[in-house]
């Protein structure tokens, strides 16, 4: 019996989006993210060659090796992923950038670059695989570790955590979301929406480290997350207005948001009415969720996209890295004029 393989609009199978076999710990939250990334991009029908993967150092940053084998990737330096992405984004701006980082990579050593890559609006999806600890170096505190967290060899963490969504917000990100490795459905929709955004989109994924920080009461554990997750909205992604089957949504309970590439997300109201386009509401949500330890996930903030870093330069439509040499060297006459001006 022949097994039929499902193909996307490019005629590619999910297998075409796979990476090398993961060498992360079985059950690691990061593996769930890898899976959703490949699924999301496959479903979007984006060719793997149209994506590049940039990461720092950490278990999280190793993970791009485990998806999208046909995409270019660069596993760079600890904390410097945003800088690498900034430079690479000019090579061929038709290529979507996935920046993959960890909480150590982003919130500790990489904090400055994180803020600035957002401020510069480098068009990319910036995913933080946030496990509240350093996995690869075997379980030290990171800057998102919960206050009071106890880790072997480390004792008690006395410092309050930084909130990376808040950081992204006040640096000017036009797309900020939080999700959870235990909620893969939501995660996938958010990834799709983020990819459809044209500016920088930041997704803070709470992604448990099953080896070093998964005690039931730990803020970044599966159990805590499963028990406390409070999605602020239901979220469904549609590639186009035509795909949207709004009849499935009850009148007045949802809100549609058009993304810059013509795709849509439909946000379904859950408890109270949350307006993801209101910056102050987003800030309030985050301060509250920290104060009362509740775990708000979903699309926290969305706004019109400010000019991307490429839009600030008047660049050719063709990829810069394909310009032939003759288009890069000014004329002999121009040099003559310079020589004259310097006499």
């Amino acid at each position: 019996m022949e097994k039929t393989v499902e193909l996307n609009r490019l005629g590619l199978a999910l297998a075409d989006y796979k990476g090398k076999p993961s060498t992360l710990c079985p059950g690691c939250g990061h593996n769930a993210i890898s899976n959703q990334i490949q699924a999301a991009i496959w479903e979007l029908g984006l060719a793997p060659e149209k994506v590049m993967k940039i990461s720092g150092i950490g278990c999280s940053s190793k993970s791009p090796n485990y998806f999208l084998d046909r995409s270019f990737g660069f596993n760079g330096l600890h904390g410097r992923m945003p800088t690498l992405a900034t430079g690479a984004s000019f090579g061929d701006s038709s290529i979507k950038i996935l920046g993959i980082s960890g909480d150590g990579d982003t919130a500790s050593i990489g904090m400055g670059h994180f803020k600035h890559v957002i401020r510069r609006n480098v068009p990319m999806v910036y995913i933080i695989e946030n496990n509240g600890c350093y996995g690869l170096t075997k379980g030290q505190f990171s800057a998102t570790s919960d206050q009071g967290l106890v880790l072997k060899h480390q004792g008690v963490n006395l410092l309050p955590p930084l909130d990376l969504c808040m950081e992204a917000l006040i640096s000017g990100a036009s797309f900020v979301a939080r999700t959870f490795s235990g909620d893969v459905k939501q995660m996938k929709e958010l990834i799709k929406a983020a990819i459809s955004q044209t500016g920088i989109a930041v997704i803070d994924v709470i992604s448990p480290c099953v080896t070093f920080n998964n005690r039931d009461d730990a803020l970044q554990s599966y159990s805590w997350g499963r028990e406390h997750e409070a999605p602020i909205q239901g979220i469904t992604f549609f590639s186009s207005r035509e795909d949207m089957q709004l009849e499935n949504f009850e009148e007045g309970t949802y809100r549609e948001i058009e993304l810059p590439d013509g795709s849509y997300i439909v946000l379904k109201k859950i408890d109270k009415d949350y307006d993801p386009t209101d910056l102050n509401a987003a800030l309030d949500l985050l301060t509250e969720s920290y104060k009362y330890h509740y775990f708000a996930t979903g699309l926290i903030y969305f706004s019109e996209v400010p000019p991307t870093i490429q839009e600030q330069y008047d660049l050719p439509a063709e990829p810069l890295n394909r310009l032939t040499a003759d288009r890069l060297r000014p004329s002999k006459e121009s040099l003559e004029a310079i020589n004259i001006s310097l006499y």
Binding site: E49, F74, D92, R322
Partner: protein, 613 residues
């Protein structure tokens, strides 16, 4: 032995086109324009001249000096005594005159306290700056600026610079603003006229017009480097401000709009991006280089320190990029506005683990232009970071230099391959040495071939870029990279050698901005009776010409502006069989190399070596 403190009083014939003058002003008072006008005027008269700005790490208020040296023989090295001092700064006037030779000339603004001079004869020309200013309708904020314009006229007249040369120079300076040119010229004329009518010339320094220096231009190394890079097809420059490297990128910003519009679409083909720090600058240049852009960054010592980790990554991932290091005095923050050659050792092996980098060392402003484009070629061809080592003296001072020459080679992109070429390679791997030259073929993002992608990483990898901890993989990879870089030597500019007039037993070796001073030192040595061949090293690793030069001299004096004799160290490592032939002479005060001091140092060591000279 040459007496550098020799009097210039004796005799009474005119001294023509041979004068060293220091103009002493206050930082931020706008003296730069005045000084440059004087400087260019000499150049326009056809006189080979140098102009060096010695300024504080300060924005306004501290003393600053501008040294103009005219030399009939074309020498431009720093001399340690002045023939002329133009004193405009009350805080330093007493000290400033102490550098005057016996028989020297002092111009001073007569509202300053007249300095006491007891140890020598000095011809003094007071300048009634404040009185003359009464005739000028100057807005308050331009007061001190215009006072400076006055000395241009006075000094110019006394030196016999033709009025029309001053006029032409001012017009050049303000070429886009004729009205400003005119008002400036009027002030200069006021000074000129005053001198003409009131100053009786008793000194012997005269400037005389020579044939125009039409093969020369007047500009600084940073501007040249910026232009060279733009003509080299630079596509991406990430940077962070730091003295004395800032003006390199700021020059590029000034030029890029005009020079780098795509002929096809009229769009920009070069991006210049200020980032948050030097870690980001190096990281972004690396990212752009990896993505197939001709990329660079420009910085100085502290920035290099911060780029260390990224450069190691570029080396090991074989990513092309160019790093300009416009040196200032270190270690640490050091003297940000003074010159040195102290970063060489650090650059050569920058990064933890085994690394060894290619360094280009321009010695003239024209070479800054040339190495600007060449470095991008060498980086892409060899897939490695390339350093270009300049310094504050070369980079920020204006030099009379040869006109820029249009690149004589097409842009070299190296082994970047696109879809079609890739199809033709059977078993391509990003790090596979298919040609036996150690240089693999590389693909870049956007290549749509299914097999083009690879995962770059700073960790151990095999020929396909896959993660590997295998010992043999690791050592093969690192050894290939080492061998590849041995091969770069053939692409590098070899040394410049200037032979002595007669057979020379000894060599003198220098690098970079000391070039002019070294030539002068060579000539002074000859006058002292010591024949020395001179070699300027223009790149590392050194090639066989360097080796032969060293081998063929009994003693080689390596002259450099750092404490530890860094070039000597590297040469004695590379050419260790002759290491005993290499003798260090070094200077670290932060000022350009003085030629006479250099000659004397060699002379003293030769004498000490028991040589008769």
């Amino acid at each position: 032995m040459l007496d550098t403190t020799q009097d210039s009083v004796q005799g009474n014939e005119q001294i023509v086109n041979e004068v060293c003058m220091t103009i002493c002003t206050v930082n931020g008072s706008g003296s730069a324009t005045a000084n440059n006008i004087l400087y260019r005027a000499l150049f326009r008269m056809g006189i080979l001249t140098s102009g060096k700005n010695i300024f504080p790490s300060n924005i306004k208020g501290l003393p600053t000096w501008f040294v103009i040296r005219a030399s009939a023989r074309g020498y431009t090295g720093r001399v340690e005594y002045d023939d002329m001092v133009v004193a405009m700064n009350p805080a330093t006037i007493q000290k400033d005159v102490s550098y005057l030779r016996n028989g020297g000339v002092l111009f001073y603004a007569d509202h300053l306290e007249k300095p006491e001079i007891t140890d020598k004869e000095v011809i003094i020309y007071p300048m009634p700056i404040k009185t003359l200013m009464k005739q000028v309708d100057a807005p308050r904020n331009l007061q001190s600026y215009m006072e400076n314009m006055l000395y241009v006229g006075i000094v110019g007249q006394v030196l016999r610079i033709p009025e029309e040369i001053l006029k032409a120079t001012i017009e050049h300076q303000f070429r886009s603003k004729p009205a400003v040119a005119e008002s400036n010229f009027n002030i200069v004329k006021l000074g000129f006229q005053y001198a003409l009518e009131n100053i009786e010339k008793t000194d012997r320094y005269y400037l005389q017009q020579l044939p125009e220096l039409r093969d020369y231009i007047l500009t600084d190394g940073n501007n040249a480097a910026a232009l060279g890079s733009l003509y080299g097809g630079l596509q991406f420059c990430a940077w962070y401000p730091i003295t004395p490297a800032t003006s390199l990128v700021e020059s590029a910003i000034d030029h890029v709009g005009k020079l780098r519009k795509d002929p096809k679409t009229g769009k920009n083909t070069c991006v210049i991006l200020q980032v948050e720090d030097e870690l980001a600058a190096a990281g972004a240049a690396l990212g752009a280089g990896w993505a197939g852009l001709r990329a660079m960054t420009s910085t100085s010592g502290p920035g290099i320190s911060l780029m260390t980790e990224n450069i190691g990554l570029a080396y090991f991932t074989e990513t092309p990029m160019v790093i300009w290091d416009v040196q200032r005095v270190g270690p640490s923050t050091g003297l940000p506005t003074r010159t040195a050659q102290g970063d060489l050792s650090m650059l050569y092996t920058l990064g933890h683990g085994d690394t060894k980098h290619v360094i280009l060392i321009p010695g003239t402003v024209t070479e800054c232009f040339e190495f600007g484009w060449r470095s991008l070629d060498i980086a892409e061809k060899n897939q490695t970071p390339i350093f270009v080592l300049s310094d504050l003296d070369l980079g920020m001072n204006s030099w009379v230099t040869k006109r820029f020459e249009y690149p004589n080679q097409p842009i070299e992109r190296g082994k970047i391959i696109w879809e079609e070429q890739l199809e033709q390679i059977k078993d391509w791997g990003r790090y596979k040495d298919l040609d036996g030259d150690g240089i693999p073929y590389r693909t870049v993002v956007g290549n749509m071939s299914k097999k083009a992608a690879y995962f770059a990483r700073g960790t151990g990898h095999d020929e396909y870029g896959n993660y590997s901890e295998d010992p043999k993989n690791w050592s093969d990879m690192l050894n290939r990279i080492g061998a590849k870089l041995d091969g770069v030597v053939k692409d590098l500019p070899g040394p410049i050698i200037r032979r002595a007039k007669a057979d020379a037993d000894i060599g003198i070796i220098g690098m970079g901005s000391t070039h002019d001073a070294m030539i002068e030192a060579q000539d002074i040595l000859a006058e002292m009776g010591i024949q020395a061949d001179y070699m300027r090293v223009r790149s590392l690793p050194a090639n066989t010409d360097v080796r032969e030069f060293i081998a063929s001299h009994a003693r080689n004096y390596v002259v450099e502006l750092n404490r530890d004799g860094q070039l000597r160290q590297i040469l004695s490592l590379e050419i260790s069989e002759y290491s005993e032939k290499l003798i260090s002479i070094s200077e670290i005060g932060g000022l350009p190399l003085p030629a006479a001091w250099t000659a004397e140092s060699v002379f003293a060591k030769e004498k000490h070596n028991g040589k008769n000279c």
